[in-house]
């Protein structure tokens, strides 16, 4: 009997894909096998639309200890016998349906990816995007997501040190929840997700297996929003306490030489975890579902294989030594169950006791068809880019009023109401916490430190995915450089709409090309990442939103900078530009153009050569001890960056440089590659030489001190007014005002 469309929809496979399966197997798949294919051929596990693009990303570095896409996370050697594991991952679709559990289990999943590498998780970051906060639904999603991250992450004892919260209408009903985790490997004990020899045992440890999360990968992550609402049961439920003890038990058990491999049991559960492990090991696998501990009776083998129950890991263990592993897990009150063994050959055999349920070649399961595309540039993008920004009239409001308005928009206002709900200090390594450009962490027992940031800009990618992709990398690295860290690697989370539309294909392809180009300019690799497609709400696709997590290295962590002005009478400079003349083209895709003038248009631009030199000058100044504070110029332009540095440094600033051109573009334009720094008045010459040596332009803006923010004869505001608007803006927009829509 031919397979029905509804059976195919259940596992999110196309008819052509089904026919390819029949062709490769030489027979019809049975229902269990159909479920396996649905999961392993999903975008989430199989990357069928993105793999050809991801292969183009630079993955080479002398420091790199893993190969992109082959392990749970990328690992980078940072010297002093230490290595850093990092990865970013999305949990967008589950969070759209059940924000609290969706976000919580997103944290849980990325943390498991990190300790699967043998790394102790030392930091979490989150990039969150929601529809405008004037809707009750978006506020519910915001509260749920932040509450879920807080509830789950705080319980784990991993500091949550940074990230973003961004609002734009395109994320209505399809929020983006991207979680990044960073881990530290000491003593060279990097784990791999593979077995060593045939005969090695496969152990399932941690939580029992339940009916939650079935079809998470194939169902949620591969469908658009309209189809999802009845899929609430496909969202997993997290138990952070179990995750915490699972971390400790795994960190203890990897010290045993009987444990040869460690793998997260995440999307598509045992199916994906176990089969990928066998594939990496170049071995076959025999797996018995009847011995998997279950939460409820009557679960079918299909449900056991596809369950996405959280807080489970898979271990490859030397035969005859499983008791060593079991005793460690027993100490932590956790189960460790032998569910299979690795064998010679290239097939996976799934058994239910003595009954063979499926015997399939692993390569057939794990090698989905790949889709290549080369779509034309959409006409609507051409039109948006061609908009004449010079023709936009300058508003009648005073520059001071506009600055106050900008500071209180929820995208720019302080995110303190969010990050104070996250424990950002546990582990006592947080040197610079959330709220500035990047976070800085010390590494105990070493002089070194690391700097971490996540960044994305959907609006710019919407206008030009190629330039926008470059800017996402540039800005994440700029944040890291503004603390004194040398960017050494990135991880990327590619949040896009459907790859089955020409627009979606164009955006994905161009953004990946932009990321590649920027990485080459910085000479850094992409060491891990995740792809989330089909982000489409009823209103259409989201902005294409690649989110970049950047890792920076500080040779001496004491030599770092933070965003706030550090002393009175310091001289304020702008690195990266020799003038502040306002040019309408810098308003392209800016927060100002969107929020104040209600337009999203223009042609974003970036000069990568200038970007690299600007960051170099800033880092050199910080490492030489000349630069006392540094703050990247981003959303809201120079005026907002100055105000933020003043607020964070609790002192005013007087800018006396001539502006010229359009004043609104001078104040709020978002030309890239600019960093505001301060130096002591007697060390200005050193900064000027540093800039010359790096080849970066430099402009003296003014002096810190006093209790007012003054920019020429345009802006004159008291620091306390500015502070209040910036500190209260987020809460006013998300809580204190009644929602205007449901």
């Amino acid at each position: 009997m031919p397979i029905s469309q509804s059976e195919l929809d259940e596992v999110a496979l196309s008819r052509a894909e089904y026919e390819a399966i029949v062709d490769r197997l030489g027979r019809d798949p049975n229902p269990l096998e159909l479920g396996l294919f649905g999961s392993l051929w999903s975008e989430h596990c199989g990357y069928k639309h993105s793999k050809p693009l991801l292969r183009t990303l630079p993955g080479d570095s002398d420091r790199l200890l893993t190969t992109l896409g082959t392990e749970n996370a990328g690992v980078l050697d940072i010297g002093d016998g230490m290595a850093i594991a990092m990865k970013i991952e999305s949990h967008n679709h589950p969070s759209a349906i059940e924000p609290r559990e969706g976000a919580a289990t997103g944290v849980g999943g990325i943390v498991r990816d990190i300790f699967a590498m043998g790394a102790r998780p030392i930091a979490l970051l989150n990039s969150l995007r929601f529809g405008k906060p004037d809707s009750a639904r978006n506020r519910y999603l915001l509260d749920g997501v932040v509450g879920g991250i807080s509830f789950y992450g705080n319980c784990l004892g991993i500091p949550n040190i940074g990230g973003e919260v961004v609002f734009a209408s395109c994320y209505d009903g399809n929020p983006l929840v991207n979680a990044m985790c960073v881990g530290l490997v000491e003593d060279g004990l990097i784990m791999s997700a593979r077995a060593e020899e045939p005969g090695d045992l496969l152990l399932l440890v941690g939580s029992d297996t339940g009916r939650d999360g079935i079809h998470g990968a194939s169902g949620l992550a591969s469908r658009t929003f309209e189809e999802q609402t009845e899929l609430r049961s496909a969202v997993q439920v997290g138990n952070p306490f179990l995750e915490k003890v699972l971390i400790e038990a795994c960190m203890e058990v990897i010290q045993l030489d009987s444990v040869v491999g460690l793998q997260d049991c995440g999307a598509a559960g045992i199916t994906s975890g176990a089969i990928e492990m066998a594939e990496r090991s170049d071995m076959g696998l025999r797996l018995d579902v009847s011995v998997v501990p279950r939460r409820e009776e009557g679960m079918t083998p299909y449900e056991v294989m596809l369950s996405e129950s959280q807080e489970r890991m898979l271990l490859a263990v030397k035969p005859g030594r499983e008791h060593e592993v079991e005793s460690v897990f027993r100490k932590w009150d956790l189960d460790a169950t032998r569910i299979g063994e690795f064998v010679d050959g290239d097939s996976v055999v799934i058994l239910d006791g003595d009954e063979v349920l499926s015997e399939t070649q692993i390569k057939v399961l794990t090698d989905p068809p790949e889709y290549e595309f080369d779509p034309p540039k959409p006409a609507w993008i051409v039109n948006l880019q061609a908009a004449d920004l010079d023709a936009i009239p300058i508003p009648n409001d005073s520059p001071s009023d506009l600055l106050l308005k900008m500071l209180s928009t929820p995208n720019i206002a302080s995110k303190l109401p969010v990050f104070r709900q996250y424990d950002h200090q546990v582990q006592t390594n947080t040197v610079v916490g959330p709220g500035g450009d990047a976070a800085v962490m010390r590494l105990k027992g070493s002089k070194r430190g690391i700097s971490l940031s996540t960044d994305g800009n959907g609006r710019l990618c919407y206008l030009d995915p190629y330039i926008g992709g470059q800017i996402a990398v540039a800005e994440a690295c700029r944040n890291v450089s503004a603390t004194g860290g040398l960017p050494v690697a990135i991880t990327d989370c590619l949040n896009f709409g459907s790859p089955e539309t020409l627009d979606g294909q164009y955006q994905l392809m161009q953004a990946v090309a932009g990321i590649k180009k920027a990485c080459e300019a910085f000479d850094i690799p992409v060491i891990s990442g995740n792809v989330s497609l089909y982000n489409e709400a009823p209103g259409g696709a989201i902005y294409p939103t690649p989110v970049i997590g950047a890792l920076g290295l500080l040779d001496d962590v004491r030599k770092h900078a933070s965003a706030g002005f550090a002393g009175d009478g310091d001289i304020v400079y702008l690195i990266g530009s020799a003038s502040l003349k306002g040019d309408a083209s810098t308003l392209a895709g800016s927060e100002y153009l969107d929020v104040i003038l209600g337009k999203v248009e223009g042609q974003p631009s970036l000069d990568l050569d200038l970007e690299v030199k600007t960051q170099q000058a800033c880092r050199d100044g910080i490492v030489a001890g000349v630069v006392r504070s540094a703050h990247d110029v981003s959303e809201g332009g120079v005026a907002v960056a100055l105000a933020e540095a003043a607020i964070l440094g609790e002192r005013g600033v007087v800018v006396d440089v001539a502006l010229g051109g359009r004043w609104d573009a001078a104040l709020f334009g978002e030309a890239q590659s600019r960093i505001i720094v301060t130096v002591a008045a007697d060390r200005t010459g050193e900064l000027e030489r540093t800039a010359v040596n790096a080849g970066a332009p430099l402009l003296r803006l003014g002096t810190t001190g006093g209790d007012r923010i003054v920019v020429g004869d345009l802006v004159d505001l008291s620091l306390s007014d500015v502070s209040e608007r910036w500190m209260c803006g987020f809460q006013d927009a998300t809580q204190n005002t009644p929602p205007t829509t449901s």
């Binding site: 807080s150 705080n154 319980c155 306490f241 003890v245 200090q425 582990q427 040197v431 004491r558």
Partner: protein
């Protein structure tokens, strides 16, 4: 040991003589001898500030050892730390399950012996659940988790946890909790206040103890209390997070230091 310094004497309990391992290492003018003591740091499933406390104490020159919750022998220690975290996931109620751990009976005996016990955050909650300290920690009044720096006003500088400071001094120490609102019945609160058992209160930067500076809704801005005999302290803020200027400050070290520094008779 002579001169203006005496052994720490609280409600008739000698502190240092009971110590097994402690030995004086240095004399700090105006304060007294520092001792090297052996601190036992309890670890329950779900504890996470164990290593933070261990790192802070080791940096301060102390010896530490972690004590798994199933162990019951704590006799070898001079003082115990019940650290923060989410023991047993804080299921049921923060600290409610941990108090039944095998180690807790030994902690009670240890406390009755007059040796020092400091409970931090979840440790404070556990000590309350175990009856070693009165009252309870309820959910923050604003119902959110809160991680932020606070100013603690020292209310009693004659305890073995606070004598390195002076009354009305402010110590900058962060909090990080969802259930830190200290509550007790009126009689208990009056008893605590009358006997100066409130050691720290949340305050503003000028020492103002007002609702504005109360981060969680605790009665009378209470941040830390001691037991009747003065050798058990519970506090919600995390002193171990404030022992190094590189991560924001070192006022928290004063609290640990008080535990291994001889108390001045002039204090």
């Amino acid at each position: 040991m002579t001169g203006p310094f005496v052994l720490c004497r609280l409600a008739g309990v000698d502190y240092f003589p009971k110590s097994i391992n402690s030995r004086p290492v240095s004399h700090r003018p105006g304060v007294g001898y520092d001792f090297v003591m052996k601190f036992g740091i309890l670890v329950f499933p779900g504890t996470w500030s164990d290593r933070d406390c261990g790192h802070a104490l080791e940096t301060l020159g102390q010896e530490i050892e972690y004590v798994w919750h199933a162990d019951t022998d704590v006799d070898r220690f001079d003082a115990l730390v019940v650290p923060g975290g989410f023991s047993y996931g804080d299921y049921l109620r923060a600290g409610a399950i941990a108090r039944f751990s095998p180690v807790m009976e030994s902690v009670s005996k240890f406390a009755v012996d007059g040796r020092g016990v400091i409970g931090i955050c979840n440790g404070f909650q556990i000590l309350c659940e175990a009856g070693l300290l009165p009252g309870a920690l309820m959910r923050n009044d604003h119902l959110e988790f809160r991680c932020t720096w606070t100013d603690l006003r020292v209310e009693n500088d004659r305890t073995m946890f606070s004598h390195t400071a002076r009354s009305r001094d402010l110590l900058r120490v962060p909090i990080s909790h969802g259930e830190g609102s200290y509550q007790a019945d009126e009689d208990t609160i009056s008893e605590l206040e009358e006997n100066e058992r409130v050691v720290f209160r949340y305050s503003g930067p000028a020492g103002e103890v007002t609702p504005e500076w109360n981060p969680n809704g605790s009665v009378n801005n209470i941040a830390g209390i001691i037991n009747k005999t003065g050798n058990v302290l519970g506090m919600m803020p995390h002193p171990e997070r404030a022992c190094d200027p590189l991560i924001g400050g070192e006022d928290g070290a004063a609290i640990f230091r008080a535990m291994f520094t001889e108390m001045s008779a002039l204090g």
